[in-house]
């Protein structure tokens, strides 16, 4: 179970990205975070594994206070939390397999890994992860040679070899076309349902939210303004919609 308590982040420039955000995520949930660009979704996700240091508040995951961990402790927690990025964040010049193996860095002997050496069973695991996302034949291509959808699948494979208990996905499909978006979301859904991995995912498109979310929270200007289930989104009132997206927002279609 993940508990976020009174989380606040003020950047050095003075921007308040998150303000007193509290919520709870049960194990195995597929939580979607919605909100406009700049509403604090990325900051929230990055605060959970402390890629961004929160200014105030606590993040407690399975009784571990992540915000109080030292560097070594943080690394141990991070390796159990996968992260999928909007821009994929692959190291373009390295082969696909190495990008995936990077997911094992928290587990392997750090000295050996400095020479790009990974034990055979880690290689095996990486190849299996690639097979799961359908890219087994691309293992030795350069990452830069892949298409956007393929890159995101490598990103998922990298998170997979971490053997994660939780997966954070920051707008994983925002750079992809609608068909690819569904395919990528499908992978996440399968991980959620088959392996019981808790997923926290920020999304823009409400149809995707309705289709995949078990729970939804909405952020606006760094504040938590909405909490509901996937079904609630289907029946969301105009008032609730405007609360998340602002008075100016127009609701299209469903």
């Amino acid at each position: 179970m993940l508990r976020v308590e009174h989380l606040t982040k003020v950047y050095e420039t003075g921007t308040v990205a998150l303000k007193d955000v509290s919520f709870t995520v049960e194990d195995g949930e597929f939580l979607v975070i919605i909100g406009l660009s700049g509403s604090g979704k990325s900051t929230l996700l990055r605060s959970i594994n402390r890629l961004i240091e929160p200014t105030e508040g606590r993040i407690i995951w399975n009784d571990i206070d992540i915000t109080a961990l030292d560097e070594a402790g943080l690394r141990r927690v991070r390796r159990e939390i996968g992260f999928v990025f909007q821009e994929f964040n692959l190291v373009e010049r390295l082969p696909v397999i190495t990008n995936v193996l990077a997911g094992r860095l928290g587990y392997v002997n750090p000295w050996w890994s400095l020479f790009y050496y990974f034990p055979p069973h880690d290689h095996q695991r990486a190849l299996e992860a690639l097979a799961q996302v359908g890219l087994a034949d691309k293992a030795h291509n350069r990452a830069s040679a892949l298409s956007g959808g393929q890159k995101q699948r490598v990103g998922i494979a990298r998170a997979l070899v971490q053997n994660p208990k939780m997966l954070l996905a920051d707008e994983p499909v925002a750079s992809l076309d609608p068909v690819l978006a569904h395919s990528i979301m499908g992978y996440l859904e399968r991980l959620n349902q088959e392996r019981g991995i808790t997923i926290l995912c920020s999304l823009h498109y409400l149809d995707l939210v309705q289709r995949y979310a078990t729970r939804v929270i909405g952020l606006r200007d760094g504040r938590l303004v909405y909490e509901g289930t996937g079904d609630d989104i289907r029946h969301m009132t105009d008032e609730e919609f405007k609360q998340i997206y602002g008075e100016e927002a127009q609701r299209l279609g469903g």
Binding site: R46, N49, L51, A68, D70, E71, R75, R76, V77, R78, R79, E80, I81, G82, F83, F85, E87, F88, N89, L90, V91, E92, R93, L94, T98, A102, G103, R104, L105, G106, Y107, P110, S113, L114, Y116, G155, R158, Q162, L168
Partner: protein
């Protein structure tokens, strides 16, 4: 209204720019004043320059200058007033083009007038002065005219500005001012730099010959064999009674021959006054040589030295159409070594030089130059490699995006500093112990230095990490008062430790120079204590400000310190590091290597760190979020991104280093520069030309190669 214009103009006549200021154009007035003031100052400086009798000439030049200036201003005013009177009638005031044409015409007329009356002005200005002491009279004349023009312009401008301000128009143009300042600056610049075209033309002739040797030195790159026709005859001297000397030669068919009669005679002798008393006259006949060409007569003394006997008869004789020649020669005044007593056998040679024959062998100098060139390339290569090794870690410390995440608590800082000092001290003690086991620095320099470095550096870093980390962790569990004690106590100690040497340094370094060194030494302990006290106070304030939740941006400090060191080292030219290298390890390529390595570390460190700063932050985030540590993040997210840039920069640096290593030789750093400067000093311009050519070929080849590879990589 009109009065204001007049006042402005008069004010600007008194002090250029003042009228504009009064009229309200503040900045304009300042610019005019600065422009004219600077130019006037430079003119006075030039007038006083290189004077052989400074104290007199300064006054003299100044008087001349003032007179010249007044004359020019007067002439200009007259010219301008006449022009305006005429122009008002002739030029239609609404025709812009006609007005400009008329202005241009005025400038031409003014230039012609001044070049005509210039000598007159000069004569008047120099009246009653000693003209021979004054240098650059023409320059001063031109400058006086330019300054007068500027003054006049400023007056006119003040008038126009006052008018424009009154009517809220745009201020008039700067063109005249800029043109005059430019002319004045160029004239003065020519003088100060000493540009002297006539001299350059006059003295080119000698240079042309030398330049020819340098531009096309390839004759000196190869060895040649001289093919010559040679015939010899033996002559005995002195000739005691009854002796006849060696047998007389016989003419031969098909090969050169020479017959000398008699073959026995007396040497010429130089008497006490240095006058030559001729010896026996020899009659020389020769044949079998190439017709129409010259035969040279040479003499070889008994110990085998060959020379041309001068003043004793013709030494260069033209061969007749049948290949024979005839001549006469007195036996030369050969100084016989004291050990050679009695009659000696000398040789007379008739030599006809032939064409030089190309042997296909490189000359000795060419071989030397090639060797030295290779040495230069290798100095550059080795310096680049050594530089890279040190530059890579430096660049990580000098990259903002890597260091700025390094932070610690104030308690952590205290722990880190104490760990650094404790670890360093422990390492030092250990290293000294190990050094004595190994037999000291003299006995095993590399091992002692290496082990010493590893021990001291490693222990310091380890202490820094352990105690810093330890206290940082501990601080979270300690009560408030304990944290405060650590912070205040630790900071006070750090401040005192920093202040102490500062106080000592102030006493010995600054006061020691200003005062008696003994006084400074006496004051030193007190000042050191004062420094320590002040340092402690300053750091106590820091401890108070940061509080126990404070964040010490230690990464930022490391970044700034590394950058500063890199910048300072980089701004000192490799040539100067070369001098350091020569003092350190003596003449030779090793000194050049040291110089280039030091500069390469700084230059590459900066280039590398900038490459690191420009990478995508995304992969770093991604690798960090897998639980990777700092080193792993660098290896997996940073290095792959920067490696192509690192390679490109290193290649570029190799290219620079080879170019530099040719210059480093000039200060004794080995390589081809060393050879080049030697040959230039020995006036062997052809050989120097070889070196220059080799450098040019190598550098441009390398430039091309490195550019091609770089294009492929990035």
């Amino acid at each position: 209204m009109k009065a204001k214009r007049f006042v402005s103009a008069v004010l600007s006549l008194l002090l250029p720019g003042l009228g504009q200021v009064v009229a309200g154009a503040w900045a304009r007035g300042v610019y005019i004043f600065l422009g004219i003031g600077t130019l006037t100052g430079l003119t006075v400086f030039t007038a006083a320059q290189r004077a052989r009798f400074p104290e007199e000439v300064y006054g003299l030049s100044f008087v001349v200058l003032v007179r010249l200036f007044l004359a020019a201003l007067l002439t200009l005013a007259v010219l301008r007033l006449v022009y305006e009177a005429v122009a008002r009638r002739v030029v239609p005031s609404d025709d812009e083009f006609a007005r400009r044409l008329a202005n241009t015409f005025f400038v031409v007329v003014a230039v012609v007038t001044f070049s005509l009356i210039g000598p007159l002005m000069l004569r008047w200005a120099l009246m009653g002065q000693d003209a021979s002491r004054l240098l650059y009279t023409t320059v001063l004349l031109i400058m006086a005219v330019v300054l007068a023009g500027l003054w006049w312009w400023a007056v006119r401008d003040a008038w126009a500005v006052a008018e424009a301000q009154a009517q809220a128009e745009r201020s008039p143009s700067w063109n005249g001012f800029i043109a005059l300042v430019l002319v004045g600056t160029l004239v003065l610049g020519t003088r100060i730099v000493g540009i002297d075209l006539p001299k350059a033309i006059r003295e080119y002739k000698e240079t042309g010959r030398i330049l020819g040797d340098i531009v096309w030195p390839w004759r000196a790159a190869f060895d040649y064999e001289a093919t010559e026709l040679r015939a010899s005859a033996l002559v005995q001297a002195p000739c005691p009674e009854g002796e006849t000397g060696p047998p007389v030669n016989e003419p031969k068919e098909g090969e050169p021959w020479v017959v000398v009669t008699p073959t026995c005679g007396e040497l010429s002798v130089r008497d006490a006054k240095g006058k030559l008393q001729y010896g026996t006259l020899l009659h020389i006949r020769g044949g079998g040589f190439v017709p129409g060409k010259v035969v040279k007569i040479k003499w070889e003394n008994p110990i085998g030295n060959e020379f041309t006997p001068r003043g004793l008869g013709p030494t260069e004789i033209e061969v007749g159409p049948d290949g024979t020649f005839e001549s006469e020669l007195y036996i030369p005044d050969v100084v016989i070594p004291s050990f050679a007593q009695g009659p000696q056998i000398h040789k007379l040679h008739a030599v006809q030089p032939g064409a030089l024959r190309f042997t296909g062998q490189l000359s000795r100098e060419m071989k030397l130059a090639l060797q030295a060139m290779l040495e230069s390339i290798m100095i550059g290569l080795m310096a680049t490699f050594a530089g890279m090794i040190f530059a890579v870690p430096m660049s990580f410390l000098a990259a903002r995006n890597l260091t700025h995440t390094l932070r610690t608590s104030p308690q952590g800082l205290v722990g880190g500093v104490f760990g650094l000092v404790l670890g360093g001290g422990l390492g030092w003690t250990l290293a000294r112990q190990v050094a004595t086991w190994l037999g000291g620095l003299e006995e095993a320099p590399v091992r002692v230095a290496f082990i010493g470095f590893v021990l001291v550096f490693g222990a310091a870093v380890l202490g820094f990490r352990l105690l810093g980390w330890g206290l940082d962790r501990l601080a979270q569990r300690l009560p408030r008062w304990a944290n405060a004690a650590i912070r205040y106590g630790g900071f006070a100690l750090i401040g005192a430790a920093l202040g102490w040497p500062l106080g000592l340094g102030y006493a010995h370094g600054i006061l020691g120079i200003a005062w008696d060194p003994n006084d400074a030494a006496a004051a030193a302990p007190g000042l050191a204590r004062l420094g320590a006290g002040l340092g402690a106070l300053a750091w106590l304030y820091l401890a108070y400000r940061w509080g126990d939740q404070g964040v010490v941006p230690i990464g930022q400090w490391i970044y700034t310190a590394t950058r500063t060191v890199l910048n300072v080292v980089r701004s000192i030219e490799p040539l100067i590091w070369g001098l350091v290298g020569v003092i350190w390890v003596g003449l030779g390529p090793f000194a050049g290597f040291i110089a280039l390595t030091i500069h390469t570390i700084a230059a590459l460190g900066k280039l590398y760190s900038e490459a690191i700063e420009s990478i995508h932050p995304g992969p770093i985030e991604a690798v960090q979020s897998t639980g990777a540590n700092r080193l792993q993040t660098i290896m997996f997210a940073v290095l792959p991104q920067v490696l192509p840039h690192f390679t490109a920069f290193s290649l570029y640096r190799w290219d620079i280093n080879v170019r530099m290593s040719t210059v480093i030789g000039l200060v004794g750093g080995g390589g081809i520069g060393f050879l080049l400067i030697q040959w230039i000093r020995q006036v062997q311009y052809e050989h120097a030309g070889l070196a220059v050519w080799l450098i040019a070929i190598t550098v441009s080849t390398l430039d091309f190669v490195s550019a091609t590879i770089r294009k492929r990589i990035v």
